[in-house]
C-alpha cells in the first residue's frame, strides 16, 4: 500500500509538470510569441482548452499528499509557507488573467490580462524552482536561500520555458508559430524537443521527491487500505477523460476561442 501511495503521488506530480508545465511555459513566453493582441490571443488559445484540466493535477497531488501522507503534508506545507504563498498568488493571478481576458472591455484590459498571465506564469515557475531547490538540496523543511536557490529557480524556469516553446511549436500557426519554430530550430521532428523537455519535466519532481521521507510517513493502514484502492480505480478513468480532451483539441489553432 505504501509503495502504491508513493507511486500515486509521483504519478500526479509528474503529470502536473509535464502537462501544466507546457501551458505555464507557453504563458511565460506569451509576450514574445505574440506581439499583437490577436497574436497573443492565439497563443493563449493554444493551451486554453487544456489548462483547466492541467492545473487540477497539482490539486490532485496535494490531495494525495494530504490523504496518504497527512502529517508530512502539514509539516511540508507549513514549513514552505512563503514559497507556497508566492506559488498560489502567481497561480491565481495567472488564472484570473486567462479567464477575464475576453470578458472585459477594450484592448488595454486585454493587454493587462496578458501581463497577468505572463507574470503569473513566471511566478509559478520560479516558485516551483524555489521549492525544488529546497527539496534537491535535501532540506525539505526550510525554504531554500542563497545562490543555489536563485540558480535552481532560474534553471527550472528555463526548463518550463523550453517545454512551453516545444508545446507552442506543436500547437500554433502563423507568425507566433514561426517565432517559436525559429528558436526551437529545425533539427529533428517537431515533436522531438517537446518529448525531451517532457521527460525532463516529468523526471524533475521524481528526483526532488527522493528527498522526502515518504516511506514510513503514510497515513494509518485503515485509511490507506480504503483510499489507495479507490484512487487507483478512478485514476485510469481520469487519464482516459483527459486523453479524450487532448484528442478533441488536437488540431493546431489558427483562430481564437473563448479566452
Amino acid at each position: 500500500m505504501e509503495t502504491l501511495a508513493i507511486a500515486l503521488l509521483a504519478f500526479f506530480a509528474a503529470g502536473w509538470f509535464v502537462l501544466a508545465g507546457a501551458d505555464i511555459g507557453t504563458g511565460m513566453l506569451t509576450p514574445w510569441l505574440g506581439r499583437s493582441d490577436p497574436e497573443r490571443r492565439l497563443v493563449l488559445t493554444s493551451f486554453a482548452p487544456f489548462f483547466l484540466g492541467n492545473e487540477v493535477w497539482l490539486v490532485a497531488t496535494v490531495g494525495v499528499l494530504v490523504g496518504c501522507f497527512p502529517a508530512l503534508e502539514g509539516e511540508l506545507l507549513s514549513d514552505q509557507f512563503p514559497v507556497l504563498v508566492a506559488l498560489l498568488t502567481g497561480w491565481i493571478v495567472r488564472d484570473a488573467g486567462l479567464w477575464s481576458r475576453g470578458r472585459g472591455p477594450g484592448p488595454r484590459w486585454r493587454a493587462g490580462c496578458d501581463a497577468a498571465v505572463t507574470c503569473g506564469s513566471w511566478t509559478v515557475a520560479l516558485s516551483w524552482g524555489w521549492l525544488l531547490a529546497a527539496l534537491l538540496t535535501g532540506r525539505p523543511y526550510t525554504p531554500a536561500t542563497g545562490l543555489t536557490s536563485v540558480l535552481t529557480a532560474l534553471a527550472v524556469a528555463a526548463l518550463f520555458c523550453a517545454h512551453g516553446l516545444g508545446f507552442a511549436t506543436l500547437r500554433l500557426t502563423g507568425l507566433p508559430y514561426e517565432r517559436a519554430r525559429r528558436l526551437v530550430g529545425r533539427a529533428g521532428r517537431p515533436w522531438q524537443p517537446f518529448a525531451l523537455t517532457a521527460v525532463l519535466m516529468g523526471g524533475l519532481p521524481l528526483w526532488a521527491g527522493t528527498a522526502l521521507p515518504l516511506a514510513g510517513r503514510t497515513a494509518d493502514p485503515a485509511t490507506l487500505g480504503l483510499l489507495v484502492p479507490a484512487l487507483l480505480v478512478v485514476t485510469p478513468l481520469l487519464v482516459t477523460v483527459q486523453a479524450w480532451i487532448w484528442h478533441t483539441f488536437r488540431h493546431r489553432v489558427s483562430g481564437p476561442s473563448y479566452v
Binding site: A48, P49, F50, L52, G53, E55, V56, W57, V59, A60, V62, G63, V64, V66, G67, C68, P70, A71, E73, G74, E75, L76, L77, S78, F81, P82, L84, V85, T89, W91, I92, D95, A96, W99, S100, R103, G104, T173, R181, R186, G188, R189, A219, D220, A222, T223, L226, L231, V234, L238, W244, T248, F249, H251, R252, S254, G255, P256, S257, Y258
Partner: protein, 432 residues
Amino acid sequence: MNQDVLDLARLQFALTAGGHFLFVALTLGLATVVAVLQTKATFGRKPLDARMVRFWGQLYVINYAVGIVTGLVMEFQFGMAWSGLTHEAGNVLGASLAVETIVAFFVESTFLGLWIFGWNRLNRWAHLAAIWIVVLTAYLSAYWILVSNGFLNHPVGYGSENGELVLDDPIAVLTNPSALLAFGHIVAGALLTAGFFMAGVSAYHLFRRSPEWEFFGRSLRIGVFLSAPALMAAAVFGGVQFAVLDSFQPMKSAVFSGKAAEIARVQAELTERFGPGDYVPSEAWTRGGALLMLISFALMMYLCFAGVILAAFKKAVFRFRLWHLVLMAAVPLPYIAMISGWVFRESGRQPWVVYGLLRTEDAVSDLSPGTMRLSLTVFTTVFVLLAVLNAWLLTRHARRGPVESGLGHDDRPAEARDTAPDPADTLPAPRY
C-alpha cells in the same frame, strides 16, 4: 503557540473559506439550472432555449472561474496554516479531502474545460453529458467537503491510536448526520442563491423594458419558481440541524438561546469532561450569525410567497416594476443567509477545531506572526480584488443581456464549419 498567529490564521481561514463559499453558492445552483436548460435545449432544439443556456452559462462560467482560484488557496491552507489538524486528524480528514480533489474536483474541472471549449465542436449529446457530469461532480465535491466539515463539527467513526485519530468506521464517517444535513442545507441554499440571482438579473432587464421580454420573462419565472421550493428545503434541513444541535454541540445551542444559566451549566459540564478551559464561543459572532440568517430567511420567505403568486400572472411578470426593483434588491439576501449561517456553524463550535478532540489553538502551524501577517495581507488583497472582479464581470455581462459573442460563440471560420481540416495543412512545409 502565539496568540497573534492563532488570530491571524483564524482570520485568514475565515476570509478565504467564506470568500470561496460565496462563489460556490452561486456556482453550484447556477450549474444545475444551466444543465436543465441545456437538456431542454438539446431535446427541443428551440433557439430561445439555446440562447438561455449560453447567457446563464456565461454568468456561471465567470463565477466558476473566479471561485475556482479561491478554492486553490483553501486546498493548500489546511497544511500551510493548520498542520496540527492534518497531524492529529489527518487519517480521517485527509482521506475525504483527497477523494474530493481526485474523484470530484479533477473530473469537474476536466469536463468543464470540455464543455466551455467544446461548444460547436462536440456532438451535442456529448456536450450535454459534459455539463451534467460537471454538475454531478460539483455536488459530489460539496458532499466530500461536508464530510470533512461534518467530522470537524461532530466527529464519528474514529478510533485513537498513539494519540492520533485513526479511521475506525468509514460508513459512519460517510453518513455522519452533521455532514448529510449540512449537505442538504447547502445544496438547497445554493439553488436558492441561483434562483434569486436569476430573478434579479431578469427583473433588471424587464424593468428596463428590454426587447428580450420573452427571454427574461421566462428566466424570471424559473428563478422565482426555483427559489420557493429551495427555500423550503433549506428551512427543513436547517430546522433539523437546530434540533440535533442540543445533543451534538450543546454549547452552540446554549449560546444561541442566550440564557446565561444554560451557558454556565454547559460550561461546567464541559469542564468536567475535558478539564479546565473556556468553552464559550464568541457570543456576538454565534448569536449574531444565527439572527442575521433567520432575518434574511424571513425576508426571503415573504418574497418567495409573494413571488410565486405574482409570477403566475403574465402582466405582473412583465409590468410590475416595483416588484422588479424588489427582486433586484433581493439578490444579496441568500448570500447574507449563507454566510451568516456558516459563521454560526463555525464560530459556534469554538474553541474546538475537531469538536471535543482538538482545540483550534493546538492545530495552528508553528509560524511567525510576520509570515502570517504577510500571507493574510496577500491573500486578503487578492480575494478582495477577485470578489470585485467577479462582481464587475457578472454585472457587466448580466446587463449586456444575451449577445452573440462570448460563451458558445461559434468561432470557427465559416467555410470550415462543416469539415474542419487541420490548419497545419496551410503551414509552410517544414524543411528537415
